[in-house]
């Protein structure tokens, strides 16, 4: 090895050590945990190696419920939040007065604490002996019958969950998209205008393709973020997500480790690796689609 590359490795050493200890080693460790059958965390013993942990997790109704919840959350919130963020960004980009004020308002959820926001959502949606909650009051005002969004039917809980998730992820997406829109050279719009292009065609044929890299970035990070959802669920439905039927994969992993039914690091590791494989697959598909388009 010549002196130059030695020097390069030397500079990289702190980062390599850090990543090795806190990233690579735990990853391998999780993999090892997930194939150790009958692991006992108190005595740190196990029977042998095999895939039993995976088959247990995949048959566990709680895990299947978490899997279903997570998938629904991803499929509903990612396209919806990206679409809504795009609409709002285009709107923000085309107004002049009060633009800064609106940008600040839309950005507020981003700087607000998740649990505090969850509390507000509970007040909005929860039925208590004293009040039906703000949203139910509105529903009743329009002549509908009130729904228990927090402890009621599955679809109502799912609705609150998706509503909340979309609302929480919007600010970041709006931020990214408004800056992407602002960075499009205005000459393109002028040229289109001179040529008499309709505003719909300008949007679909010029604006969208110009900001498509940013949209793809948001979709990919949105998928990953939604697959990793957990704290938002706790904020609304409390810590016992299994009882509420609103658990997510990450929530399941947490419960297996530390929850009341916890103490099973092997099951947790297997569930975590299943999540890893799902996210990896989805991200690869996303990248393939985005490559094809460009």
């Amino acid at each position: 090895m010549d002196k130059r590359s030695l020097k390069g490795w030397l500079y990289l050493l702190p980062a390599i050590l850090f990543l090795g200890v806190f990233m690579v080693y735990p990853l391998i460790d999780v993999l090892v945990y997930s194939v150790e059958e009958g692991y006992n965390s108190a005595s740190e013993t196990f029977f042998g190696y095999g895939l039993y942990n995976y088959s247990y997790v995949l048959r566990d109704p709680y895990f299947l419920q978490a899997l279903k919840n997570t998938f629904l959350l991803v499929i509903i919130t990612v396209p919806l939040s990206t679409g809504i963020a795009l609409l709002i960004s285009v709107g923000l980009n085309s107004i002049k007065p009060l633009k800064e004020l609106f940008q600040t308002v839309y950005f507020l959820p981003y700087v607000t604490n998740t649990l505090a926001v969850g509390l507000v959502f509970m007040i909005l949606f929860k039925k208590t002996p004293y009040t039906d909650g703000f949203i139910n009051l509105i529903i009743q005002w329009f002549g509908g019958s009130s729904v228990d969004f927090i402890d009621g039917p599955y679809w109502a809980k799912m609705f609150v969950m998706c509503f909340y998730t979309i609302w929480v992820v919007l600010p970041f997406k709006i931020l990214i998209l408004t800056s992407a829109l602002a960075s499009v050279n205005p000459d393109y719009y002028k040229a289109a205008k001179v040529d008499g292009t309709s505003s719909f065609r300008i949007f679909t044929r010029i604006t969208l393709p110009m900001i498509s890299p940013m949209i793809f970035y948001l979709v990919i990070t949105g998928f990953i973020g939604a697959f990793k959802a957990y704290s938002d669920e706790v904020a609304i439905f409390g810590t016992d997500l299994n009882a509420a039927g609103m658990n997510t994969i990450v929530g399941y992993v947490y419960d297996m480790l530390y929850g009341d039914s916890g103490g099973y690091p092997s099951f947790a590791a297997a569930a975590a690796l299943i999540l890893f494989v799902i996210v990896l697959t989805i991200t690869c598909i996303n990248l393939m689609i985005s490559k094809k388009r460009t």
Binding site: N185, D187, Y188, K190, A191, A192, K193, V194, D195, G196, T197, S198, R201, R205, I206, P209, M210, S212, T294
Partner: protein, 365 residues
């Protein structure tokens, strides 16, 4: 199509809100552009030339004044109804579309009776591409093209809808020097082949001089002079115009007229019969100097630069506004480099005198 501009004026509210007075970008521009001519709008940045172009295009509305294309008043028309083609400084080619798709784009916008079939559009695009000689590049994307090729695509996109007027904003400023020469000839050729009235904006006097039928020199929103390139160069109406045109630039001296003679410092260079005594600014073109041992203009010789085609003499004169003056003389001139003083006489038609406010004084009655 003849273009008539009548008292065209554009004011903007001042950005500094404390100043109530508006900024005048273009002030009372009146000009008739004859059909099929190539016109260069020339001026330093911020002189209002781009604003003028945008008003003709329809992207900006004039504060007052009118614009006619032929007999039609287009002042209130939006750009798409004016029949203008515009080439932007950045070319504004859509990067995600191929060259063909870029050229077809304006045609696809047509509605109703004007709507064209795909074959018609592709035929029109192919014809235009042939005109600007990019017909072998139709399947490429803009990022795969050189600057000059992108420029041609932009021109093709502007021409494909057969506009009545072609507008070019700084068409050559993004090209390197060699391409600039080539492309400006190309613009001239395309303009002459199509016969479309063309207006282009530039801050480069050489560009404007080389291809325009007429030059409009603008300064701070005002039109200073409109004439053929040679006329503007030979017969500038003000010190600003004289200084703006020509490379190397005109040499400027503090001078005076005394006893019907023109003085530069203490050196009498020309007789000026019939003019009253006054202080003047004297401009002498670099090629207006003649090496002459008997000459009245004595300068301190600084340097001699050999350019190949001619020789550039850099010298100092106490009355000159700038530190050095530059004279262009033939290469076969006999210059004694070791002598400190060099003497010139001047060609009278290369010498211009100006009042203190910059207006020209005619030296010959």
């Amino acid at each position: 199509m003849k273009i008539v501009l009548q008292h065209l004026t554009k004011r903007y509210p001042n950005r500094n809100k404390k100043i109530k007075e508006d900024v005048v970008a273009v002030n009372d521009f009146t000009f008739e552009i004859p059909d099929g001519k190539l016109i260069g709008l020339l001026g330093p940045s911020g002189c209002g030339k781009s604003t003028t172009l945008n008003m003709i295009c329809g992207l900006e509305k004039p504060t007052s004044g009118k614009i006619f294309f032929g007999e039609d008043d287009v002042t209130e028309l939006p750009p798409e109804n004016r029949g203008v083609g515009m080439v932007f400084q950045s070319y504004a080619l859509y990067p995600h579309l191929t060259v063909l798709q870029n050229i077809i784009f304006p045609l696809q916008n047509r509605k109703g009776a004007e709507k064209m079939t795909k074959q018609e559009m592709e035929k029109a695009a192919a014809e235009t591409a042939r005109l600007v000689q990019i017909d072998n590049l139709l399947e490429r994307r803009p990022s795969e093209l050189s600057g000059g090729q992108q420029q041609r695509v932009a021109i093709a996109r502007a021409l494909v809808k057969r506009p009545r007027v072609l507008l070019l904003d700084e068409p050559l400023s993004n090209l390197d020097a060699r391409l600039r020469l080539q492309t400006r000839e190309e613009i001239r050729r395309i303009q002459q082949e199509t016969g479309i009235t063309t207006i282009f904006v530039t801050h480069d006097q050489e560009e404007a001089m080389s291809i325009s039928d007429q030059i409009v020199v603008m300064e701070a929103g005002n039109v200073r002079q409109i004439d053929t390139p040679q006329k503007v160069y030979d017969d500038p109406c003000s010190l600003f115009v004289a200084k703006f045109l020509g490379t190397p630039p005109i040499n400027v001296f503090n001078g005076s007229i005394k006893d019907e003679k023109l003085y530069v410092g203490g050196d009498c260079i020309l007789p000026t019969p019939g003019l009253r005594s006054q202080k003047v600014t004297v401009g002498i073109r670099p090629e207006g100097f003649v090496l002459d041992p008997e000459g009245t203009l004595a300068c301190r010789l600084n340097n001699v630069e050999v350019m190949g085609r001619d020789t550039s003499v850099v010298a100092h004169h106490d009355a000159a506004v700038s530190d050095t003056i530059r004279a262009i003389v033939p290469t076969d001139s006999d210059i004694k480099r070791n002598e400190k003083t060099i003497r010139f006489s001047v060609k009278p038609y290369k010498v211009h005198a100006f009042l203190e406010n910059g207006d020209r004084i005619r030296l010959k009655g």
